[in-house]
C-alpha cells in the first residue's frame, strides 16, 4: 500500500535571533544583499542560521502510527508543521496524501467572545469540514466534549481544560486520512484523556495514518508501532517503538557527574520464577517485560574522586515523571564500602518490577558521607525497561488484589 505520509531526506533551516520587522531594518538588509550579489545557497548556513532538521526520513502507511519523541527544540513540531504545509522544507520532499486532520493547537481558531456553539462551526471550517458536515455531527461533538451545559456560553468563560476538550472533540469528528497530533492529550481530566486515547486507537483501526508528537512516552508506546527520535546535534533515529523509547529515555536524563565514570549500566531480567536476575538464566532486557518480572541493574563505575562511605541507591520512575521507587542500600542495612579514586565498583541491585504498563527509567545514587552529611552522586536514567501488559489492569503498581463479594440479606454486619 502507498504510504500516506512521506518524509524524504528533509532538511529545514531556521534563523536565530530577531528578524527585521520594520522598514528601518529593510534598507541595510537590502544593501547587504546587494553587496553580496548572490542568492544564499540552500545548502549553506549563513550566520545565525541553523538546521532545525537535518536529513530526516520516514513514511507512515494507512493504519500505522509513528511516534515522534525527543527533547524540546529537537524539531518535533517542525516536522508536523512541514506536514501540515505551514512550513516548506529547505531541502527534501515532504508529502501527505488525502485529507489531513491536525490536532495541533486544538483551540487555535477559537475566539474568546464567541460561544462554544459558534466556535464549533468556526473551528470545524478551519479544520476543513463542510458546514453541513459539522451540523450533522454537532450533537455528537457536544456529547463527546461533555460540555452540553456550556455550549451557549462564551469560550472566554471556559477553563483551559474545557477549551481543550471542545477542541479535541471537534478534531475527533473529522474524517481524515492522515492525522497529525502534537502534545494535545495532556489536557483534560483522566476520564477525558482515556476517551481521547480510545478515539485515537479507533482512528488507527479505521486505517488512518497517524503521526504523534508527545513527551508522554506511555501514550506513544500505547498508540504507535514505530517511533522517530530527534535529538539536537545528532542524527534522527527511526525504529520499533520500544527500542526508540528506551534509547530516548536512557539518553535523555543522563548527566555527567564528574566524580564517577559509568563504564556499563545494564538491566537484566530473571530467567525463571525464582531467578532474581543474577542467575545463569538472566538475560539483558530488550523486549517489554511482564509485571512482576525480577529485574537486576548491574552497574560498573569508576571513581574519579574518593567516596569513603559509598552506598548504592535505586531510583525508578515512570517516563511521565512519576517517582515509583526511591531506596538505598544503607537504609536496608547494607554496609557502605570504601571507594578510592581510580577504583572500579561493580554493584547490582535486584528488584521485582511490580509495575503495570509503561516505560520505566532506572537510575542509581552513590552515597558518600565525605563531609559528614550525605552527598549523593546522582546517576539518573541509566537504563529503562518497558512493561507490557496483557491483562486488563490499569494504573501503575501491581497490587495483586484478592476480591471477596458477598450478598447479604439480614446479616450481622449490616444490622
Amino acid at each position: 500500500m502507498r504510504p500516506a505520509i512521506v518524509f524524504d531526506r528533509v532538511w529545514k533551516k531556521f534563523r536565530r535571533g530577531e528578524r527585521h520587522d520594520s522598514l528601518r531594518d529593510l534598507i541595510p538588509s537590502i544593501a547587504r544583499r546587494w553587496i553580496r550579489r548572490r542568492k544564499p545557497a540552500p545548502e549553506r548556513l549563513e550566520d545565525q542560521e541553523f538546521w532545525a532538521l537535518s536529513n530526516v526520513s520516514f513514511d507512515v502507511g494507512p493504519g500505522q502510527a509513528l511516534g515522534i519523541v525527543g527533547p524540546n527544540g529537537a524539531g518535533k513540531s517542525t516536522v508536523l508543521k512541514l506536514l501540515t504545509r505551514i512550513l516548506k522544507p529547505t531541502r527534501g520532499r515532504c508529502e501527505v496524501r488525502g485529507r489531513v486532520g491536525a490536532l495541533i493547537e486544538l483551540a487555535a481558531g477559537f475566539h474568546p467572545d464567541l460561544t462554544g456553539r459558534e466556535n464549533i462551526f468556526l473551528q470545524g471550517a478551519i479544520m476543513g469540514m463542510r458546514r453541513a458536515e459539522i451540523a450533522r455531527k454537532f450533537s455528537e461533538i457536544v456529547e463527546f466534549s461533555g460540555l452540553a451545559d456550556f455550549i451557549d456560553t462564551q469560550v472566554k468563560r471556559y477553563s483551559s481544560g474545557m477549551n481543550a476538550r471542545l477542541g479535541f472533540s471537534i478534531a475527533a469528528h473529522l474524517d481524515p486520512d492522515v492525522l497529525l497530533i502534537d502534545e494535545v492529550l495532556a489536557v483534560g481530566d483522566l476520564g477525558f484523556q482515556q476517551r481521547c486515547h480510545e478515539r485515537l486507537a479507533g482512528f488507527r483501526r479505521a486505517g488512518i495514518a497517524i503521526a504523534f508528537v508527545s513527551h508522554n512516552l506511555q501514550a506513544v508506546a500505547q498508540l504507535c508501532d514505530r517511533a522517530l527520535l530527534l535529538t539536537p546535534g545528532a542524527g534522527p533515529r527511526l525504529g520499533e517503538v520500544h527500542d526508540v523509547l528506551s534509547a530516548y529515555a536512557s539518553g535523555a536524563t543522563a548527566t555527567g557527574d564528574p566524580r564517577v565514570r559509568v563504564h556499563d549500566a545494564r538491566l537484566f531480567a530473571g530467567g525463571g520464577e525464582d531467578d532474581d536476575g543474577r542467575g545463569p538464566g538472566a538475560r539483558p532486557i530488550v523486549r517489554p517485560v511482564k509485571p512482576g518480572t525480577p529485574v537486576t541493574l548491574r552497574l560498573d563505575v569508576e571513581a574519579s574522586a574518593d567516596l569513603p562511605r559509598c552506598g548504592l541507591g535505586l531510583l525508578v520512575s515512570r517516563s511521565d515523571g512519576l517517582l515509583v521507587f526511591d531506596g538505598a542500600s544503607t537504609v536496608d542495612g547494607v554496609r557502605p564500602v570504601e571507594l578510592r579514586r581510580g577504583e572500579r565498583l561493580r554493584c547490582s541491585v535486584s528488584f521485582r518490577a511490580n509495575v503495570l504498563r509503561g516505560t520505566y527509567l532506572v537510575g542509581a545514587l552513590l552515597f558518600d558521607s565525605f563531609h559528614g552529611g550525605w552527598d549523593a552522586v546522582r546517576l539518573p536514567g541509566l537504563a529503562s525497561f518497558v512493561v507490557s501488559e496483557t491483562t486488563r489492569r490499569g494504573g501503575c503498581v501491581e497490587l495483586q488484589p484478592t476480591y471477596d463479594l458477598q450478598v447479604g440479606a439480614e446479616d450481622g454486619a449490616r444490622a
Binding site: 531556521f14 528578524r19 527585521h20 520587522d21 520594520s22 522598514l23 528601518r24 529593510l26 508543521k81 501540515t84 504545509r85 505551514i86 512550513l87 516548506k88 489531513v100 491536525a102 495541533i104 493547537e105 487555535a108 481558531g109 475566539h111 467572545d113 464567541l114 459558534e118 462551526f121 468556526l122 471550517a125 478551519i126 479544520m127 476543513g128 463542510r130 458546514r131
Partner: protein
C-alpha cells in the same frame, strides 16, 4: 507548456482558484465570525456602518454648500454620500485587510489553509457594511426625488471592478504589513490623502494642470464617478477612464494574488 513561466503561472492560478472554491465555507465562516464579533462587542453594531458615512456627508455638506459652495449638478448631500459610500467600502476593506494576517497570527502560524481567506473576509465584512449603508442612499434618493434609472443594472459590474482593485491591494497590503509592521501606519496616511485625490466629496477633475494630470491616473476616481453616473445621473460610465480603471483593477488583482501566493510559505516563519 508546464515548464514555461507562463505555464507555471496558469497552473498556480488554477491552484489558487481551486483552493478558494475548496475553502469557500471557511471564507464565509470567517466573515460571519467578524460580523458576529462586531455585533457582540459594540453597542451600535451595524449602526457604525451607517454612522461614519452619514457624519462625513453632513460635515462635507456644510463645507461645500455654505463655506465654499461648489456646483455638482446634483444636490450636494446625495452627491457626497454616493461617493463616501463606495469610498468607505474601499478604505475600510484595506484597513481591515492590512492587519488581517497579523491579528490572526495564531491561526497563520498554526493551521494551514489558504491565507487569502483573511484579506478576502475583511473585504466581505466591509461589503456587508456597504450594503447596510447603501440603505441611506435609497432614503436620500427618495428625499431628493432622484428616480432609479435603468442603468442600475450596471451596478454589479462597477462593484466587481472595485472589489477586484480592492482585493489586489488588500493582498499586497496584508503581506507587506506582515513583513514590515510600519505599513499599517503608513497606509493610513496614504488613505486620507488618497480620499482627497479621488472624486469622493468634490469633482477632482477640476484640479487641472500638472497635478490634475497626475490625479487622472487614480483608478478610484472613474470607479466612484461610475457609481454616480449609473445611480444618480442615469448615464453609462465614461467609457475610456472606466475601461482603464478596469484594466488597472484586474492587473492589480492578478499581480497581488500571485505575489501573495508565492510568499505564503514564508508567512508562518515571519510571525
Amino acid at each position: 507548456m508546464r515548464d514555461t513561466p507562463f505555464g507555471r503561472l496558469v497552473l498556480s492560478a488554477r491552484e489558487m482558484v481551486r483552493e478558494q472554491v475548496e475553502f469557500r465555507e471557511l471564507l464565509l465562516q470567517m466573515t460571519r465570525r467578524d460580523l458576529l464579533l462586531r455585533y457582540k462587542q459594540t453597542v451600535m453594531g451595524f449602526g457604525w456602518a451607517i454612522f461614519m458615512p452619514v457624519l462625513n456627508m453632513v460635515v462635507f455638506s456644510v463645507i461645500f454648500t455654505r463655506v465654499a459652495p461648489i456646483d455638482t449638478g446634483i444636490p450636494y448631500p446625495i452627491y457626497a454620500y454616493c461617493g463616501l459610500l463606495p469610498w468607505s467600502f474601499f478604505a475600510q476593506s484595506l484597513k481591515f485587510s492590512a492587519v488581517s494576517l497579523t491579528s490572526n497570527s495564531n491561526l497563520v502560524a498554526k493551521v494551514y489553509f489558504p491565507r487569502e481567506i483573511f484579506p478576502f473576509s475583511a473585504i466581505l465584512v466591509s461589503f456587508v457594511d456597504f450594503a447596510v449603508a447603501s440603505s441611506v442612499l435609497g432614503l436620500l434618493m427618495i428625499y431628493y426625488q432622484v428616480p432609479v434609472a435603468p442603468t442600475i443594472v450596471f451596478l454589479p459590474v462597477v462593484i466587481l471592478v472595485q472589489v477586484a482593485f480592492t482585493a489586489g491591494l488588500s493582498l499586497l497590503l496584508a503581506m507587506a504589513n506582515l513583513f514590515y509592521r510600519d505599513v499599517k501606519y503608513l497606509f493610513e496616511i496614504v488613505l486620507s490623502v488618497w480620499m482627497f485625490a479621488t472624486s469622493v466629496v468634490y469633482p477632482v477633475d477640476r484640479v487641472g494642470g500638472r497635478l490634475g494630470a497626475i490625479l487622472a491616473l487614480n483608478p478610484m476616481s472613474p470607479i466612484i464617478d461610475a457609481y454616480r453616473a449609473i445611480l444618480l445621473r442615469g448615464e453609462l460610465p465614461d467609457p475610456v477612464p472606466f475601461a482603464a480603471a478596469t484594466a488597472i483593477a484586474v492587473s492589480t488583482l492578478a499581480f497581488g494574488w500571485v505575489a501573495f501566493h508565492r510568499a505564503e510559505f514564508e508567512f508562518a516563519e515571519s510571525l
